[in-house]
């Protein structure tokens, strides 16, 4: 009896993933927001809620269209460039330090205690100092956003590296990989899922810190629009600004999520579908 290499008997067909009817899944998600909008509209129209406190959704939409004709785009451009600069700086530094601390016990001994104590400070507490040191210009805003983006990336990065399956690393040792090759071929790809988790929470924090920075001191940007309109008693403008912020946050996160799906398609993870679904 000789071996017959051309037999692949142990095949296991995989159930195709993804919902059977994606449009139905999406319709489910839209139901609640639509219901809320319709209810609000009718309550305001019926006069049960005063319009100067809670404008009707149709009025907010109208304001938004008006804004889009004028200053909205320059506010968006200002905010977007701040978030982008802060996020890129903060996330890059976070990745750099995470790689250093994650890959080297020596770096961990030197740096980790400092980062651990800095992390304990709520980032908004830095605002007065940042204003004092860096003034009310762009630098202090971008620095604050970078601070917010740094820690999620750093923390998740270190955890991701330290959670790598030791047995995969041993394969690299077996091939005599040096530290650089080991990092590039095994450690970084294996840490990628955790890194993405960090990047996505860093991005959402970046938007949060943007609003904080612009509420405090700005003459342009969506956060400025919020505070200015509150002072001029225009709830419709405030809501319009919130809507734009939500949209931008969702879009930027969607971008990262798309990258994640593309680069991490190899993960063998639970997708929320039970065997009978």
């Amino acid at each position: 009896m000789s071996a017959r290499p051309a037999q692949a008997v142990e095949t296991r067909p995989r159930r195709p993933t993804g919902a059977t009817k994606p449009w139905r899944q999406r319709a489910k998600g839209l139901a609640l927001p639509l219901a809320i909008l319709v209810t609000l509209e009718s309550l305001v129209r019926l006069g049960w809620i005063p319009a100067y406190q809670m404008p009707a959704p149709s009025e907010v939409a109208h304001t938004l269209i008006e804004l889009a004709d004028g200053a909205l785009w320059s506010h968006i451009a200002a905010s977007l460039s701040r978030v982008l600069a802060g996020f890129v700086i903060g996330a890059s530094l976070g990745l750099l330090f995470a790689a250093g601390v994650g890959l080297s016990r020596e770096a961990e001994a030197w740096l980790e205690p400092t980062f651990a104590s800095l992390r304990a400070i709520p980032s908004l507490a830095w605002v007065p100092l940042l204003l004092l040191w860096l003034g009310i210009g762009e630098t202090s805003k971008v620095t604050l956003i970078a601070l917010g983006a740094f820690f999620p990336v750093y923390l998740n990065g270190v955890a991701a590296i330290r959670n790598i399956d030791r047995r995969l690393v041993e394969v690299g040792h077996m091939y005599g990989f040096g530290p650089l090759r080991l990092a590039r071929r095994i450690l970084l790809p294996a840490a990628l899922p955790g890194v993405f988790t960090g990047l996505r929470s860093a991005l959402s924090l970046s938007w949060m810190f943007l609003v904080a920075a612009e509420l405090i001191a700005a003459t342009r940007g969506l956060g400025y629009l919020l505070s200015d309109d509150r002072e001029t008693s225009r709830p419709d403008l405030v809501l319009a600004a919130i809507l734009v912020l939500a949209l931008l946050g969702k879009l930027s996160d969607g971008l990262l999520a798309a990258l994640e799906t593309r680069w991490l398609a190899w993960r063998d993870t639970f997708d929320g579908q039970g065997p009978g679904a």
Binding site: M1, S2, A3, R4, P5, A6, Q7, A8, V9, E10, T11, R12, R14, R167, L168, E170, V171, H173, M174, Y175, R185, I186, P189, A190, L192, L264, A265, W266, R267, D268
Partner: protein, 247 residues
């Protein structure tokens, strides 16, 4: 049927010649003293219970563990390793995993040949998550063979697959190793597997792990699992294990 053994062919340099005086885990000795010599193309099994130090011995041979007293007098330049679990990189395709040691510039022709050899034609671009346990272990064997080793180390390679898959994989391994004259050093706790695969079976005793008995299996390949002589040798192996207070 005359049994012709590769071990009978005089060879100038063995593919492995290791002498272990002692190997400690903390203060307790887990291995040694023992000697291990493999000739080119020879198939040797290390048989013993879990915890007897046979996997540790394999790690010493692989160079994954260098903290021991003894000397590695000789070892083939190219040594492959097949672990108990497939240990494939989940982000790489089957082909990329097989050529892993060369990165992106791996030898495509060789990888295609190896994929065909282990019976996975058509799965070159599949990701590990789409493979069954047996298929993944086939990929691991192909990866172990990629660098043309003259010695392949296997650490309980088939203990995680079902009996039928195990038979198929054992035959596949024997076929590949004998065609290329690759020496195999197989760690196993399965008596039948040890006897079916090997020219020699070394029974390893417990704490510290030493060679308690050496059984030679003078049967030609390919072998028949129903061979009465295998059953006879099985009895001897059981006796040896009992004498060594292993069972």
């Amino acid at each position: 049927m005359t049994a012709l053994h590769t071990s009978d062919i005089p060879s100038l340099t063995p593919v492995l010649d290791l002498q272990v005086q002692r190997k400690l885990f903390g203060d307790s000795p887990v291995l040694g003293p023992l000697e291990l010599r493999l000739q080119a193309g020879e198939i040797v099994s290390l048989l013993g219970p879990s915890g007897c130090g046979k996997s540790t011995l394999l790690r010493l041979v692989a160079g994954l563990d260098t903290a021991f007293t003894g000397t590695l007098r000789q070892r083939a330049a190219q040594v492959g390793f097949v672990f108990q679990e497939p240990r494939l990189m989940p982000w790489l395709s089957v082909a990329d995993n097989i050529g892993f040691s060369n990165g992106r510039r791996f030898d495509r022709q060789r990888v295609t040949q190896l994929i065909a050899d282990v019976g996975l034609a058509g799965f070159a671009d599949a990701l590990p998550k789409a493979l069954s346990g047996g298929m993944a272990q086939r990929v691991a064997i192909a990866r172990g063979l990629y660098e043309r080793p003259s010695l392949l180390l296997l650490d309980e390679p088939f203990s995680a697959v079902d009996a039928f898959t195990r038979f198929a994989l054992q035959d596949l391994l024997l076929d590949l190793a004998r065609r290329r004259r690759i020496a195999l050093l197989v760690v196993t706790h399965d008596i039948d597997e040890a006897l079916y695969l090997s020219d020699r079976v070394l029974v390893i005793g417990n704490r510290p792990g030493t060679v308690r008995r050496e059984l030679s299996v003078p049967l030609a390949y390919p072998r028949d699992r129903r061979d009465a002589r295998l059953a006879d040798l099985r009895g001897q192996a059981l006796e040896a294990l009992q004498a060594a207070h292993v069972i």
